[in-house]
């Protein structure tokens, strides 16, 4: 068995496999299928200061090798999370990480400050890249200035591991990544969904209630891989790669491109056990190639 241990800031993980926010509920939904402790880190559903109803139905469109979603950060708010959900997940023996979203800087900071007090939440992932909410969300993620503003504000009130999730819907993602790093982020995760659209030609109508939505799934992998490679070269903090990872081989590609860890998202919908299979597959790959640690292949791409 090779060592799969990796570190993201102060966060120590038993393997580099995490779940992507919004694709794994609070972890509890998957307990019938897998041992959650075998996942390096579980990033739970996006949480905002106040409850959000999310966007109207329909919120999903299947696309070739992928899907679009327009959920719109439906959640019951951070206070509900603290009172009702945290007690259910705090004893799961892996890193339980909360994805934090907002529509203004003060909301992000207040939410992060509240979660900072939760003993068994060792990290947050700041979502500055949701394409499905009208104000805010992605607005912060599309400019270096916006990213710096929100990351700095959260850094002041949050002293554990701070991951910043980046949007691919920008001209130069490395610029945003550098701004996050300079503002105190411990890590960046990328990519969030790509802005897309689906049309029902027969009805001459958009399929999603919001017209546009976030694209994910196998189809986005080449874009994600390219961006992870670019960002890994541009920053010194660890990069978490995600976007279209369906199996261990995809995950290894992200590690070679420079990601210290990976997140698995949409693939959970097709195979709820995929996370564990990916962790096992990475180990088998390392053994087959004679590596003793996963750290040996991070950024080991030979160009």
């Amino acid at each position: 068995m090779a060592s799969l241990n990796v570190n993201i800031g102060k966060l120590a993980m038993s393997n580099p496999v995490m779940t992507a926010s919004g694709t794994f509920g609070y972890g509890l939904e998957f307990q019938d299928f897998i041992d959650l402790t075998k996942i390096g880190g579980i990033i739970v559903k996006g949480t905002t200061l106040l409850p959000r109803e999310g966007n109207p139905y329909p919120r999903m469109a299947e696309t070739p090798m992928g899907m679009l979603n327009a959920v719109g950060l439906q959640n019951k708010g951070v206070h509900y999370f603290v009172e009702h959900i945290y007690p259910q997940i705090k004893d799961i023996q892996t890193n339980m990480i909360v994805n934090v979203s907002g529509s203004q800087v003060e909301d992000y900071a207040e939410t992060a400050g509240i979660i900072n007090e939760l003993e068994n939440i060792p990290a947050i992932e700041l979502n500055i890249s949701c394409p499905n909410v009208k104000q805010g969300g992605m607005a912060f993620g599309v400019s270096a200035h916006g990213a710096a503003e929100v990351v700095s504000a959260v850094r002041k009130v949050y002293d554990k591991t701070l991951i910043v999730k980046l949007s691919p819907n920008v001209t130069d993602i490395t610029e945003i990544a550098r701004a996050a790093e300079a503002s105190g982020a411990d890590s960046v995760s990328l990519i969030n969904t790509l802005l897309g659209m689906a049309i029902d030609a027969e009805k001459r109508k958009p399929i999603l209630s919001t017209v546009t939505g976030g694209m994910s799934g196998a189809a986005v992998k080449p874009v994600a891989l390219r961006m992870v490679w670019q960002v890994a070269k541009a920053v010194k903090i660890p990069v978490i790669g995600l976007g279209g990872i369906m199996n261990w081989k995809d995950a290894v590609e992200f590690l070679l491109a420079g990601a210290t860890a990976v997140q698995i998202g949409t693939a959970n919908f097709i195979d709820p056990t995929v996370t564990v299979k990916v962790a096992d597959g990475i180990n088998a790959y390392l053994e087959r190639h004679g590596y003793s640690s996963v750290n040996d292949i991070i950024g080991a791409l030979e160009v």
């Binding site: 019938d32 139905y57 919120r59 999903m60 299947e62 899907m67 196998a218 919908f269």
Partner: protein
């Protein structure tokens, strides 16, 4: 209820009609407990345009033969691929998902089961379970035309069957909610599954007559287990996942304008 990911074997795949197959799956071990109204997420292999699993309601469970049946309407590439499965092939399914219909304690209540199109599927298993409880359920099944009414002999083995067709080729012409049965009887409970306009019309009838009514929704889904929040329906408790809180809802919970 515990959910399982299973590799089941095709026992039979019967082409009932140009647009429907009846897929019967089995395995060596006894199949898990499943309730009428619950569904499975079926993985479709070797169909490049099919990315997600297909949510398909449980049509029938045969405990003696250890089979679970799925009545599948061929709508797109995924369901067409499922129609090509041969006896002995393996199909990966996640089941049982969602909540089933409520089965009332034995009483003299007259129970009506309404199914429209492929929405007749869960009514067969529900009819069987009600029959086992001592009820004589009444089925009212609607379709475009005679050839679209499937498995009628099976329905007849559990209760009385009435039909409507849009072209009048069998039973009364028109929609299920126009059937004389509804004018001449006082039912104590109604279950319905079918196209949304049909279920809304049924819900309206049930509300007017003050009859308890449960409907099964089929909002577009991705995960099927309440993780992605895509298949939501607006209820008196806000947006809830049809896959997890449903697919069966009492109409009192829904915000339909009925």
């Amino acid at each position: 209820m515990k959910k399982y990911i299973l590799d089941l074997t095709v026992a039979e795949n019967i082409r009932l009609h140009a647009n429907y197959v009846l897929l019967k799956l089995t395995q060596a071990a006894p199949l898990p407990e499943m309730l009428p109204g619950q569904f499975a997420e079926v993985r479709v292999d070797d169909s490049p345009t099919t990315f997600l699993r297909r949510p398909i309601s449980i049509n029938y469970v045969d405990r003696e033969l250890n089979e679970v049946w799925f009545l599948i309407q061929l709508v797109g590439d995924g369901t067409r691929k499922l129609a090509t499965l041969q006896k002995g092939n393996t199909v990966n399914v996640i089941l049982p998902l969602g909540n089933g219909f409520s089965i009332p304690e034995p009483s003299d209540k007259k129970i009506l089961l309404i199914g429209g199109g492929v929405g007749t599927a869960p009514m067969l298993y529900l009819g069987k379970e009600l029959f086992k409880k001592g009820y004589k359920p009444v089925f009212l099944l609607g379709a475009r035309s005679k050839s679209d009414l499937l498995l009628l002999e099976w329905f007849k083995s559990f209760g009385e069957v009435f039909v409507t067709t849009e072209d009048g080729s069998m039973g009364e012409k028109g929609y299920v909610t126009q059937h004389t049965l509804l004018r001449e009887n006082q039912f104590g409970m109604i279950y319905a599954c079918g196209p949304k306009p049909m279920m809304v019309a049924v819900a309206k009838y049930a509300k007017e007559k003050d009859i308890s009514c449960e409907v099964s929704l089929e909002n577009t889904m991705a995960c099927g287990i309440g993780a992605c929040l895509c298949c939501v329906e607006k209820t008196n408790e806000g947006h809830v996942c049809v896959c997890k809180e449903g697919p069966v809802f009492n109409i009192k919970k829904l915000l339909w304008q009925v």
